[in-house]
Symmetry: C2
Subunit: 194 residues, 2 copies
């Protein structure tokens, strides 16, 4: 098992997403919960931190986000690539995925602190988000805006407001999704800072 999540300063929460990793969205409401993959997400503001994420109208995740007004963006790692693909390839509405998709794929969770949705265990970062209602964006573009109300990271790979992939096993690197089951791991660091 990996280390317990450690809180991330909200002013640094955008750094969990800034490099463009694929995410897994968890959602829950009134005893039902779901999980899906989302590559179309980005930071939208620093303070208060906000994120944008595209969630299709056909998804069960969207129904739970709309009902609860919240979601979690989980940042998975290389060891979870098959899980990301699996939860992204099968809808919580499909008969073969009916019921609890987290249970179906044997996924463990941790409780969030500010929202109903759970944190997906084994990830390296987590952003608990409350929906900032924008009906036009949601309807026209499937675009949801969330305010980050709590953020967490695996201290082995993210500490002091930055990623430390080189110090951790390669299996803990974040993932970038292209299409058709093709990912890239986050690669070599290039530090041009002072």
């Amino acid at each position: 098992m990996t280390a317990a999540p450690v809180p991330v300063d909200l002013a640094r929460a955008y750094r969990l997403l800034n490099h463009g990793p694929v995410t897994v969205v968890t959602s829950a409401h009134a005893g039902r919960r779901n999980v899906m993959a989302a590559a179309w997400t980005m930071p939208l503001d620093f303070s208060p931190p906000k994120v944008a994420v595209v969630v299709d109208k056909s998804t069960f995740t969207r129904e739970l986000i709309e009902a609860s007004g919240s979601f979690v963006l989980n940042v998975p790692c290389r060891a979870q690539a098959e899980t990301v693909l699996a939860v992204g390839s099968c809808s919580g509405r499909d008969p073969e995925c009916a019921g609890d998709k987290l249970a179906r794929f044997g996924l463990h969770t941790l409780p969030a602190t500010q929202v109903e949705a759970p944190l997906l265990a084994g990830c390296v970062g987590w952003l608990e988000c409350r929906v900032v209602p924008e009906a036009h964006n949601e309807q026209r573009y499937d675009l949801f805006i969330g305010e980050v109300v709590a953020a967490w990271a695996d201290p082995q790979v993210f500490a002091d407001g930055r990623w430390h992939f080189a110090a951790a096993p390669d299996a803990r690197r974040t993932l970038h999704y292209v299409a058709g089951g093709a990912f890239y791991a986050t690669g070599e660091g290039i530090d041009l800072g002072d």
Copy 2:
């Protein structure tokens, strides 16, 4: 010099951005032009392809985007990391960057086909975009939506609708930006497709 840009099928244009690379935004209007870095961007739709990008109110780039109704998202590569940092650290409005920021940094361009903004030479992907006007998003979130009207790639690294980083020099890999001058190169491929 790198290979001449080759057209990318619009249905595959989202794949230039799907893995979350940092981008460089170019803009131009009435003889003035500018360039800035933008990490906060993502695909927003497949067909017609759309993108979302955050462009701060303080930027000269924004003035030119608003005046021209268009922009280009350039996807830079590792060999251009210093350029990305430079154009992201200095505003076209600052006295020390006054004039033509592209010329100041010695950056070459190629003409776009559908928009006024130029393509930044040496990049590995380019998306020519026309603004889909959304005044509320632009004012409240600095969020611009663009429809991709033409797309291009360096055929050495992107062909047949997918990236081929392993077959090209590491200097042609795309970049992912964190903060404070810290980037990651796009790393090892993980193919879980059929």
